[in-house]
């Protein structure tokens, strides 16, 4: 049960963080410094990928918590396959994030 709560908190935090980036257009101070040299397009793409993936990752992490609750309450017998799929999605998202974040650095406004 404790892990479900931890997952829920982490998930909700990630979703809030993603929504905050959408609404304010600001990432963390260190990331802002990092993207200061990027082109407008690169910086915007970087912020967009951060926002979208934070929300998606938040949903996946909350999903992990929900699956644990369902298994604890014996509503679903075995949630292992679902959990593996969600972890798989999370790993793919992280890889996609790093690929796109690396490309943001080289983007120019002329393209």
């Amino acid at each position: 049960m404790v892990w479900s709560i931890v997952y829920a908190f982490m998930g909700v935090f990630a979703i809030f963080y993603g929504v905050k980036i959408f609404l304010t257009g600001k990432v963390s101070a260190s990331e802002e410094r990092k993207i200061a040299d990027y082109s407008n397009k690169g910086a915007r793409t970087y912020k967009l990928i951060n926002a979208v993936l934070s929300i998606l990752a938040g949903l996946c992490i909350t999903g992990q918590g929900v699956l644990r609750v369902l298994e604890n309450q014996k509503i679903v017998e075995d949630t292992f396959p679902f959990r593996v799929v969600i972890w798989g999605i999370l790993i793919v998202m992280v890889i996609v994030y790093f690929i796109i974040a690396a490309k943001c650095k080289n983007m120019t406004d002329d393209e």
Binding site: V19, L23, T24, A51
Partner: protein, 568 residues
């Protein structure tokens, strides 16, 4: 004409609020940088807040039958209002001190076309924004959700909606009243060092209260926790605005509503009067932290002592670090309160390790424990400390100026190392010596074995030296001088901090395992290849201490040159 004038004043205040928020580095919703159109961002934020409030209200509606057997709705409402009032008060005290007194923005704001009243109003609104939104969402959603299921009437709904606005406003007014009067009456508090020390003592007291409260609650049922909420509700009798509003909400007492409103209005009025009378004088006099009413005569100047460059640089380093609230929290507070968080719960908790003590540990076992204690204390005191890992970065733009001054780099480096060593040793070596005195005085450790604590203190000092030198070298290698605020800089723990904390945790677990093993069983009787295990432990501890000594000496020798090479 009057309306036009009033609108002009309001728009000025609104402009100043947005300026202050931008200066505070807060991202605003719907700014030009938003990833969607500013209008859509604002609509989304409003809809999101309403949705969140609705979701919480629906949750409260369905949870009500489960809570009702344990706590009455009236007690719950009073508790929630009390907690919000106290939360607003605590948050506002910190915010008001920062926004009104330590922000140092008055010399910039006063020449601008704003009146003093507009500046103060804008500053207070900036402080009020977060508590009001929190209160609006929490009070309305929770109390309305619970109230609808419990079938409460119109007075309850009116009282809830009014409370959600009035409680944070009252909290801020009380905080402003206290702070402005205290800063005006007590001249000594204008000295920032004293203010920061008082803040540190308050933080320590709050942490201790938290540890004791959490130990009282641990292992008990949920109903005990709800019982504590009832006792919080009984505190509300001391806050007339909460208790009278509650009597209106639950008993329909209109006089209660009027008294509650009158109390709130009186507090706000009093706060405004006090601010008008005292604020500007105190705030402007704080621009200079020196003692007032003390003229500097020629004789005072003759008395200036000649100090060495190292001493002057260390004093400069100490003043720079301790006069900043951000450095105080991340550079001092955690270094000193780590035993409260990690050690006290183990000692005070139910079923603490003292209950299993059967044997008095022998010298060999004590030596092992002292070694582990020294490593743990050092790793935690240095790991939670940002002073050495930001030592050069903290200079910011001034670094170039310092570089051009005729200062020997060795002195400059040693000033930073000595100051960090002093703070980290106070949070580790001093604690070990105090623990040694307590254990010897209470008879937990015999007087003949009390020297092991000195051994532990020595190990801790050497470990501090290694970790701090490594952190300084690391910061010299990658200094960050272009930071925006001290808070941003001070929140960054380096990888050495993380490694130190991890090693600290491992040593901490090993320490408790060693204490429990040597206390619960007669460990001196355990043999390994015919040799007592405690003797092996003692020899091993002495060998590890020698290795630590050698490493500390080597790191200390190479660190100055390495840091100089990296920085210049």
């Amino acid at each position: 004409m009057n309306n036009k004038k009033a609108t002009g004043k309001l728009s000025k205040v609104l402009k100043l609020i947005s300026v202050l928020e931008k200066c505070n580095g807060k991202a605003s919703i719907g700014s030009s940088e938003a990833l969607i159109s500013p209008k859509a961002a604002k609509i989304m934020a409003a809809v999101g807040l309403v949705f969140l409030t609705g979701a919480l209200a629906v949750t409260a509606y369905f949870v009500e039958p489960f809570i009702a057997p344990y706590i009455a709705l009236q007690d719950f409402a009073k508790s929630l209002m009390m907690i919000l009032l106290l939360l607003t008060l605590v948050l506002s005290i910190k915010n008001i001190v920062t926004v009104l007194y330590t922000a140092d923005d008055l010399p910039v704001l006063l020449p601008m076309p704003f009146s003093a009243g507009q500046i103060v109003t804008a500053k207070l609104v900036v402080s009020l924004k977060f508590p009001v939104i929190l209160s609006l969402v929490l009070v309305n959603s929770t109390l309305l959700g619970l109230g609808f299921n419990a079938g409460m009437g119109a007075t309850y709904i009116i009282g809830t909606v009014l409370s959600s606005v009035l409680i944070p406003v009252t909290g801020l007014a009380v905080a402003a009243l206290i702070i402005v009067v205290v800063f005006r009456l007590f001249g000594f508090i204008r000295n920032r060092d004293v203010t920061l020390v008082l803040g540190g003592v308050f933080t320590l007291a709050l942490t201790l209260a938290y540890v004791f409260a959490s130990n009282t609650l641990r292992g008990d049922s949920g109903s005990a926790a709800l019982g504590i909420l009832s006792s919080v509700a009984s505190l509300s009798n001391g806050f007339p605005n909460v208790s009278f509003m509650s009597s209106f909400m639950f008993d329909g007492n209109v006089l209660g509503l009027l008294i509650s409103l009158a109390v709130t209005a009186a507090v706000i009025l009093l706060a405004l009067v006090v601010i008008k009378l005292f604020y500007m004088y105190s705030a402007l006099s704080m621009q200079n932290t020196g003692k007032s009413n003390k003229a500097v005569g020629k004789g005072d100047l003759d008395g200036i002592k000649q100090t060495s460059a190292l001493k002057a640089l260390t004093s400069y380093e100490a003043k720079n670090a301790r006069r900043n609230p951000a450095y105080l929290i991340y550079g001092f507070a955690m270094t000193f309160i780590w035993p409260v968080l990690f050690v006290l719960p183990m000692i005070l908790g139910k079923g603490s390790f003292f209950s299993i003590v059967k044997y008095s540990p022998d010298t060999g076992a004590l030596l092992t424990c002292a070694l582990l204690l020294g490593i743990t204390a050092s790793c935690f005191a240095c790991g939670f400390n940002i002073l050495p890992v930001t030592a050069f970065s903290r200079e910011g733009d001034s670094f170039n100026m310092l570089r051009s001054m005729p200062i020997v780099f060795g002195d400059y480096y040693r000033s930073k190392r000595n100051f960090s060593m002093l703070i980290c040793s106070l949070g580790s070596v001093a604690y070990i010596i105090i623990l040694g005195i307590v254990c010897t005085a209470t008879g937990i450790v015999s007087a003949a074995n009390c020297w092991v604590f000195l051994f532990g203190a020595l190990v801790s000092y050497l470990c501090n030296s290694i970790i701090i030198n490594c952190m300084l070298m690391n910061n010299a290698k990658k200094p960050v001088f272009n930071w925006d605020s001290e808070t941003e800089l001070s929140r960054k723990l380096g990888w050495i901090n993380i490694v130190a904390i991890v090693i600290g945790f491992v040593a901490y677990l090993a320490l408790f395992a060693a204490i429990i093993a040597s206390s619960a069983i007669d460990i001196s009787a355990v043999m390994l290849n015919g040799i007592s295990i405690t003797l092996i432990g003692a020899i091993g501890s002495a060998a590890i201490a020698l290795v630590i000594l050698a490493v500390a000496a080597a790191v200390n020798k190479i660190s100055v040159k390495k840091a100089e090479k990296s920085l210049f």
